[in-house]
């Protein structure tokens, strides 16, 4: 079966969980066999893993005809795209887009991030999708997250092939209820046009059904999974500090509930002196959190090391005794699973999608700072608690693999295509 996927992020150049999830799912589906996947991303860097999917960079897709030679194309983008594909795509340009800002190859340049003109970039991505959809042969379209829904709809309208959209998050999660009407409309439009909707958790599924008014029969949950960590990461050695370390890793934004973590920390510190709290990440609530920690008089034990990337994340986890994710609303939340892979006991809010599939973690309501403080205290005070969570958590998380999720998605494809 051939699938055309539209995504926004792809490892190793990722900004959030979307890239990791797209990558894991694609690879998991490929492991199930008999899948030919073309994955379109805005801006590839050339170092992406291409072993299980054809990667097409939107920045290399021509939308206006340019008279260029094979050798020129090879020299310009040879590391990112086969020139033959470039010429095939060029043969399928469907309208005159010369009024747009294009480069020497007739392509739109995408940032592949979340720039201020994001809506424009989303629209451009959809224009580009029309060319790809006319060029490539595929059975089904799969759009990851709202940024690519317009592209998916476009591809569906051009080819008549069924569209599956994958809801990794909704604007309700990001905004604690104060949705941006433009984003909401893009999301809802995608959901209405989709033949089937995949959500990353039951929590998200309910949001899609209740807030966007979608027919429940059209929405299926496929929980995310984790990619096994490399031995190199597992073997990271860090000097263990004398104090116990409780870590929060993620964007410091309203959605992640950072203030509840600070409050819980203040309670724990009242009675337990030998513990330190780390809030790693950046975001619009960081300054507020720094002053909150100071206000509670715990600034000497509450640290803000800033945004962590790559290996630093795993070093941080290795040094931690507890991982905490007090998210107010988390469609899935992959980070506690990564902490568990590193053998760190995790505390998560019941309002996170991953709480639906995890047993060996502590679950509390995001607002229940007493329960959170109690859980932190318990893990750092009672060795049996730490060990049980660590060992059983590791076993549990190692069973959550992408091939199982991939098989579920393939089944959804087959149902839509009437192959079952």
């Amino acid at each position: 079966m051939k699938a055309l996927m539209f995504g926004w992020e792809f490892p190793p150049h990722i900004l959030g969980g979307l890239g990791t999830a797209s990558y894991g799912l694609t690879k998991g589906m490929w492991e199930c066999g008999d899948m030919d996947i073309t994955f379109v991303i805005p801006k590839p860097y050339g170092d992406e893993d291409k072993s299980f999917a054809h990667i097409i960079g939107a920045s290399q897709v021509p939308v206006a005809w340019r008279d260029v030679s094979w050798d020129y194309v090879e020299s310009r983008i040879g590391n990112l795209m086969n020139p033959d594909l470039y010429f095939r795509l060029r043969d399928h340009i469907y309208a005159d887009f010369n009024y747009m800002r294009l480069n020497d190859l007739g392509c739109i340049e995408f940032s592949g991030r979340y720039p201020d003109n994001l809506l424009e970039e989303i629209n451009n991505y959809s224009i580009m999708a029309g060319v790809v959809a006319r060029t490539i042969d595929f059975d089904i379209i799969h759009s990851h997250d709202w940024l690519t829904y317009p592209a998916g709809i476009h591809a569906k309208q051009v080819t008549g092939k069924p569209l599956v959209i994958h809801v990794h998050a909704t604007d309700y999660d990001r905004s604690r209820g104060n949705v941006n009407p433009t984003v909401f409309n893009i999301e809802r439009d995608g959901m209405i046009h989709a033949d089937h909707i995949i959500t990353v958790s039951e929590l998200t599924r309910r949001t899609v059904i209740e807030k966007y008014g979608i027919d429940p029969a059209k929405v299926t949950t496929v929980h995310n999974a984790v990619i096994p960590l490399s031995q190199e990461l597992l073997d990271i050695q860090v000097e263990k500090p004398k104090d116990k370390i409780v870590t929060f890793l993620g964007r410091i934004t309203m959605q992640k509930g950072p203030e509840y973590f600070v409050e819980a920390a203040a309670r724990v510190l009242k009675l337990t002196p030998n513990v330190r709290f780390v809030m790693a990440g950046s975001g619009d609530m960081m300054d507020k959190m720094i002053s909150l920690a100071a206000e509670r008089g715990i600034a000497d034990r509450f640290h803000f090391p800033g945004f962590q990337k790559g290996k630093q994340v795993y070093e941080m986890l290795k040094a931690s005794d507890v991982y905490i994710m007090p998210s107010v609303s988390e469609p899935f939340g992959i980070s506690p699973l990564e902490a568990m892979q590193m053998g760190v006991p995790s505390i998560i809010s019941k309002q996170s999608g991953c709480a639906e599939i995890l047993d060996n973690v502590i679950k509390t309501d995001y607002w229940d700072i007493d329960a959170m403080a109690d859980a932190i205290y318990s893990i750092i005070t009672y060795p049996a608690m730490y060990k049980q969570l660590r060992e059983d958590g590791l076993k549990e998380v190692n069973r959550i693999t992408w091939d199982k999720a991939g098989a579920k998605v393939i089944k959804i494809y087959k149902d839509i295509l009437g192959q079952n």
């Binding site: 009242k270 047993d359 973690v361 318990s378 060795p383 049996a384 049980q388 969570l389």
Partner: protein, 460 residues
């Protein structure tokens, strides 16, 4: 002639309230009074009371031929006394019929038999006293908490004066042997063992109202038929279950009470008797000895102690709990001792199980906690507070042995003082005798004076 030996268990723990770590050292009250009251009242209404009424009717209608045994843990008795005295009256009535035997167990429904023989013995003793006080019976047969039993426990039970013990007919112990005989303990040959007939007990306790079961619906007629068709030389069918089975696990509308009440009539028609455990132990000869190297119980698929001691959380809580056993016994603080027993209820450990599938379902069905981790955290916070209190009585800095020897010295001195006092008393008596003798001799000489002295003493 075949006989059915029914035994019903009644137990409720004192459930703990949500106890935060910042309560440690500040709040010494641990129990969720509302939940405890609510649960015992509800179960008594739905199950215990109607079940006891059924048993009374069955005894009455069969003119005492229906017989059975009941055991009630100390913690359940306390809650019954406090919240549902009407059920206690029914139990007393049952005891008065002479057809119901009360069985001994640990007062605290604890796992003390696996940890501390002295603690175990004390709890059994206190439970026996409580049963005697309430029901006027001295228990002759023992059932350990959750039917836990092994070769190490057997001699202790015998030493406490019990002739028989009730335990689980665990398949991995019995193998090809039938539970429908009386056996004796390998490590204490004088102790007889009654093994639960797993299949027939669970047919009532777990499968009765399950419409997916191939034998559904189960009638008394059919059930007695199964018992009657066991091999002719098998003497006894041990049906051990929770009293909550009736009206609790199997709801009233499933017809469980009618089923129960119909049993004696069909049994009578098939020539099957009812027998109590102590009668079975007295009348029936053991056919073989059985050795149980590792403890067995009636819980979970594995029928071992893994329901309470199956993971790190449980083992940690268990070892911490019993690490202070000796010290608590040395204390005189009544409340501390009471808390210690309440905290020993096996249920608290049961809630911490991390098992999955069928076993996990049973654990979470009974657990007031959402997860085993929550159960552990709450329990350990309470236990930490409890240990602080023990510490206040006897600081850790004093070694147990040192403490012991000091206490022995004190006790020895107390004993010495007592003997000396006695001696002194008898000396005084002697002296009085001598004085009296002296006085009588005197009175012979001066009778008038002596009389005056006597008058004075009587006035005083």
């Amino acid at each position: 002639m075949k006989a059915i030996c029914f035994y019903f268990q009644i137990h409720q723990p004192f459930r703990l309230k949500r106890y935060r770590f910042f309560d440690i050292g500040n709040d010494h009250y641990y129990y969720d009074d509302f939940a405890n009251d609510d649960i015992i009242t509800r179960i008594a209404q739905n199950s215990y009371i109607p079940a006891a009424e059924s048993l009374l009717r069955m005894i009455e209608q069969s003119e005492g031929k229906f017989r059975c045994a009941i055991s009630v843990s100390g913690s359940a008795l306390e809650q019954i006394e406090q919240h549902t005295p009407e059920f206690l009256d029914l139990l007393k009535k049952l005891a008065k019929t002479g057809s119901v035997e009360f069985i001994a167990e640990t007062y605290a429904h604890s796992l003390a038999s696996l940890a501390d023989p002295e603690e175990f013995a004390e709890q059994v003793k206190v439970h026996g006293e409580k049963i005697r006080e309430l029901f006027g019976q001295k228990p002759k047969v023992f059932r350990n908490t959750e039917l836990i039993y092994d070769d190490e426990i057997a001699p202790q039970i015998l030493a406490m004066g019990y002739k028989g013990v009730i335990t689980e007919g665990a398949k991995h112990i019995l193998g090809w042997k039938s539970p429908n005989y009386v056996y004796s303990a390998a490590s204490a040959p004088k102790l007889k063992i009654l093994f639960k007939n797993d299949k027939l007990s669970d047919d009532i306790a777990f499968r009765f109202s399950n419409p997916e079961w191939s034998e559904y619906p189960l009638t008394a007629d059919k059930y007695i038929g199964w018992i009657a068709s066991t091999p002719a030389d098998e003497q006894i069918v041990n049906l051990f279950m929770n009293l909550e089975t009736f009206g609790g696990m199997q709801p009233r509308e499933s017809g469980i009470f009618q089923f129960l009440e119909a049993l004696p009539r069909f049994a009578h028609e098939s020539g099957i008797n009812f027998i109590t455990p102590s009668e079975a132990v007295a009348k029936l000869k053991p056919v073989d000895t059985i050795s149980v190297l590792h403890p067995i119980s009636w819980a979970d698929e594995a029928r071992d102690t893994s329901a309470w001691l199956g993971n790190k959380l449980q083992n940690e809580a268990f070892s911490k709990l019993y690490s202070v056993a000796e010290r608590v016994r040395l204390c005189d603080d009544r409340r501390l001792k009471q808390d210690y027993w309440y905290l020993q209820a096996s249920d608290h450990l049961f809630y911490m199980s991390t098992k999955h599938k069928n076993d996990g379902e049973v654990h979470s069905h009974f657990s007031p906690y959402e997860t085993p981790y929550q159960a552990f955290t709450n329990y350990m916070n309470i236990l930490s507070d409890f240990m602080v209190r023990v510490e206040e009585q006897f600081p850790q800095s004093i070694e147990n042995e040192e403490l012991n020897s000091l206490l022995t010295t004190i006790r020895n001195q107390a004993r010495e003082i007592e003997t000396l006092n006695k001696e002194l008393g008898s000396m005084r008596l002697n002296l009085e005798h001598i004085n009296e003798e002296h006085a009588t001799r005197e009175t012979i000489k001066k009778p008038v004076k002596e009389k005056k002295i006597r008058d004075k003493t009587t006035q005083n």
